[in-house]
């Protein structure tokens, strides 16, 4: 009897281990941690509905930027650490749209429209660069992102913006670090078809907007070109031998990623209510990268499901830790945990990369 009992435990153990391996250990830990936070929330006096609302809100702000990771992962360019480049295109679109005097929902549409040529231009150059340095994409991408942010720090001061809502009050020139979107496109997507039940509030418009983009991305990956892009990421030599123009596919993926991050920052701003310039884009890439990794993506495989799950887990963690942990230990742990999780996730994924190759 003892023996059969042992065997049963062993059976359960191996099944459990297999499950964890399939699900991914970090994802398992984070999902478990988040679950505990949700369970503890009512006990420390946090309103459950408010917590859910916050999590969904933050999800809707960030999901598009996480989606921007997908094309480059598929084409084998790795994780887009150069996200700030696309964000800068989005910021140019946003500020120019306001400068030209558009207001309300129109300002959002115009911001997207103006951001597009910038995204294509910058993305094109970025794609050309990444084709020159195959194998070292992620490192170069990081520096492209950082250096473009620094360049724009100067440009925001020097560009001849005149709109009084945006420039420094005293000098009358140079953009402010934070620009309120009130009267422009503050919550235009979020308030569209918004559902309010008691304390629970769901920004349906933002979620629909993300769903549409996610559906378009999913569809693209099912087309001939999307298939070719995935094959380029999976084995570039195979793709070349099958008559695919590898560089063109990679450049296309970079363009798509850059454009999506430009749109992504606009969606973020409309939810947040402010445009953050100067060092704002600097810290945008890491949360997006780690979100998709938590979602179960690897350096060369990513799906829409990875985006949804990852963004939810990561943003859930960021929202829940301050309320729950702070009321428990009266110390602001959230930032620490966010930094540990996001950087730890990236580190984990990069070590897994070589493992997958052999």
């Amino acid at each position: 009897m003892d023996k059969t009992g042992n065997e049963a435990t062993i059976g359960i153990n191996t099944k459990f281990l297999e499950f964890i391996r399939g699900f991914g250990l970090p994802r398992f830990i984070i999902a478990g941690f988040l679950l505990i936070l949700f369970i503890m929330a009512p006990f420390v006096g946090a309103d459950f509905a408010t917590q859910i609302t916050n999590t969904i809100n933050r999800f809707s702000w960030n999901a598009v930027m996480v989606l921007a990771m997908v094309p480059m992962v598929h084409s084998g360019c790795g994780l887009n650490f150069g996200l700030p480049l696309g964000i800068i295109s989005g910021l140019l679109g946003a500020t120019l749209s306001i400068e030209f005097g558009f207001t309300g929902a129109t300002s959002f549409v115009m911001a997207a429209a103006i951001a597009t040529p910038f995204a294509l231009l910058l993305g094109g150059g970025y794609g050309w660069l990444l084709n020159k340095i195959k194998g070292g994409e992620m490192m170069i991408a990081t520096y492209v992102g950082f250096s473009s942010v620094s360049l724009m720090c100067m440009m925001w001061l020097l560009l001849p913006y005149r709109s009084p809502t945006m420039v420094w009050g005293m000098a009358g020139k140079g953009l402010r670090t934070t620009i309120s979107l009130e009267g422009f496109y503050d919550k235009v997507l979020a308030n569209f078809l918004r559902i309010n039940i008691g304390n629970l509030s769901i920004p349906v418009g933002s979620l629909l907007f993300f769903a549409t983009l996610a559906f378009l991305m999913w569809s693209f990956l099912h087309t001939k070109t999307g298939t070719a892009m995935t094959a380029v990421g999976s084995n570039p030599v195979f793709a070349r031998a099958s008559g695919i123009n590898v560089d063109k596919m990679r450049a296309l993926s970079v363009l798509m990623s850059t454009w999506l991050s430009a749109i992504g920052i606009l969606v973020y701003e409309q939810g947040f209510g402010f445009i953050q310039l100067y060092m704002g884009p600097f810290f945008m890439a890491l949360p997006a990268v780690s979100a998709i990794l938590i979602g179960g993506a690897s350096v060369n495989k990513a799906s829409i499901a990875n985006v949804v799950i990852g963004t939810f887990l990561f943003q859930g963690l960021v929202t829940m830790t301050p309320t729950v942990m702070n009321s428990m230990i009266h110390m602001d742990m959230s930032e620490v945990i966010r930094v540990v999780v996001s950087n730890g996730m990236i580190l984990y994924a990069l070590t897994r990369k070589t493992e997958a190759k052999t």
Binding site: S219, S234, V237, F238, G243, I244, A356
Partner: protein, 527 residues
């Protein structure tokens, strides 16, 4: 002399890889100061034997070997190459293992440098000892002096001509005081004629100093020039152990390739009035290790043309060059239309297809499903397996059609897999090769290049692959150019066989010719 204990004795050595016997009862001896030439076709088992002798890890990982190896009459069993070095065996590999930024002296004595004590090392231990440069120079000069060539001991490796790098490697082995047996694996492959002659001189002078040498090469005249004895291997067995003075190039060739000559095949068909479907003129291909220098060849419609030859002579370069995977020049005409080189897409558009010898690197999407692997080129090149929407604006993957075609080929080629959605990397080598064939068949090409289709796969899969190719050729009338290192395999399924030697076509013979005549062509222009 017969009672003298030989330096090396190999007694009944057998080895199999996963049930595949690659060495069968190898026996020979080598005395002190003897020079033994080891020859055999690719895959005859020479390198496996040397790996056993040198204690390479791969042997132990695959289950060790049977039989005994005796050095000076004592049985040895090396677990690592370090044990072999300890016992006085040195090996010079085909690929250089030198540090480019170091001088010859530094490379020769790497990690065995003579050391000097100094104040710091007295306090902190041996790791802080200083290198004794003057002693190093003396030792490396002595090692270089053992060869009959002079190389500059102070020159850094990266600025040396390739021949001198080879000599540096040899000097490194010679600098080991305990060296008794030196194995040279195709040392002359990269050398010019003059350098090769110098190397042969140094081999002689080493032997005169009592070092035994095992010399592996494809250049038979070098064997005859320098060795006392020739051991010929074929299919994992020693077929001949002869004194060099009793052998000549023709005899050795016959021993190397000569199997029981099979009865003439009846199905060989080379119609006299068939039209030429592909003509290749002045083709050169810059493929590392398989450079094609100047190839002229005509392929007749509907035939299976075999391309044979020794490794490194350029036979693999021909399909890789024509299909645009490596930089190439010259003219290729297919069906009277010129084919642009350096463009895989254009070749595929002209209904050419290629099954690469590099299955895992070029042939497969290892991380994707069988469905993708088989359907991908046909989808991208010929727009098959696609559904069109919005007047052709969007071409959507037709998963159902892809599954159908995959199922068809899984049945036809007996691919062993759990489902059409299995990942290609999970299949065995033979089944992966079948997937590569299916991928090419799905393109329905008019002309198919097949490169080393049976390399590294088991016997059952081998015959299946060959018969599938043959069926594809006979039933669909597809012209096939098949490149293989195994002459017997070519003779089994081809109509004509061209032998490549030194980057050129050495000759084209009907498949029914004797093995011997092919063997002679193989070594005719070896460089």
């Amino acid at each position: 002399m017969s009672n003298e204990i030989p330096l090396l004795e190999i007694r009944g050595v057998k080895k199999d890889f996963f049930g595949n016997r690659v060495l069968n009862d190898i026996n020979f001896t080598l005395k002190k100061g003897g020079i033994l030439g080891l020859v055999g076709e690719n895959g005859a088992g020479k390198s496996t034997l040397m790996k056993i002798l040198f204690g390479m890890n791969v042997i132990r990982e695959t289950g060790g070997y049977e039989g005994d190896i005796l050095i000076n009459g004592e049985e040895v069993n090396f677990l690592t190459p370090f044990d072999a070095l300890e016992a006085g065996i040195g090996m010079v590999h085909q690929e250089f293992s030198l540090i480019p930024g170091f001088t010859a002296t530094e490379n020769i004595l790497l990690n065995r440098e003579p050391l000097k004590k100094n104040v710091l090392s007295e306090i902190f231990g041996d790791r802080l000892d200083k290198l004794d440069t003057s002693e190093m120079n003396r030792q490396s000069e002595r090692a270089i002096g053992k060869m009959s060539v002079h190389i500059d001991a102070k020159m850094v490796i990266s600025s040396m001509p390739v021949g001198h790098k080879q000599f540096t490697e040899i000097a490194r082995e010679l600098s080991k005081e305990q060296l008794k047996l030196l194995i040279l694996d195709e040392p002359t492959a990269v050398l010019t004629e003059k350098e090769a002659a110098a190397l042969l001189d140094s081999i002689r002078s080493m032997a005169a100093q009592g070092i035994a040498v095992i010399f592996i090469t494809h250049r038979l005249h070098e064997i005859l020039g320098v060795c006392d004895r020739v051991v010929v291997m074929r299919d994992g067995a020693v077929v001949r152990d002869a004194l060099a003075k009793d052998a000549d190039v023709q005899k050795i060739t016959r021993w190397m390739v000569g199997r029981s000559v099979q009865s003439s095949r009846e199905d060989v068909k080379i119609g006299p009035n068939k039209k030429t479907i592909m003509s290749i003129r002045k083709l050169w291909v810059d493929m590392p290790g398989e450079a094609v220098r100047n190839v002229d060849i005509d392929v007749v419609e509907g035939e299976i043309l075999g391309i044979g030859g020794l490794a490194g002579q350029g036979k693999l370069g021909i399909p890789n060059g024509v299909m645009g995977l490596y930089h190439a020049g010259g003219t290729v005409e297919f069906d009277r239309q010129p084919i642009p080189l350096d463009s895989p897409r254009k070749c595929l558009d002209c209904s050419l297809a290629f099954v690469s010898e590099d299955r895992r690197g070029v042939g497969l999407l290892l991380d994707e499903t069988l469905e993708w692997n088989i359907a991908f080129p046909a989808m991208q090149i010929q727009n098959k397996f696609l559904k069109k929407y919005f007047g052709g604006l969007i071409s959507w993957r037709d998963e159902k059609a892809i599954r159908e075609i995959t199922k068809r080929y899984i049945n036809e080629l007996q691919i062993k897999c759990t489902s059409t959605k299995q990942k290609a990397k999970e299949l065995s080598g033979g089944n992966q090769q079948k997937v590569c064939l299916a991928k090419a068949f799905a393109l329905q090409p008019k002309f198919l290049f097949v490169s080393e289709p049976t390399r590294g796969i088991d016997v059952g899969a081998k015959s299946l692959v060959l018969s599938a190719l043959r069926k594809f050729n006979r039933e669909n009338g597809v012209t096939i150019m098949m490149i293989s290192s195994e002459l017997e395999e070519l003779r089994m399924i081809c109509d004509r066989i061209a032998i490549v030697s030194g980057g050129k076509i050495a000759g084209i013979l009907p498949a029914t010719e004797s093995s011997e005549s092919f063997g002679l062509l193989m070594v005719s222009q070896v460089i």
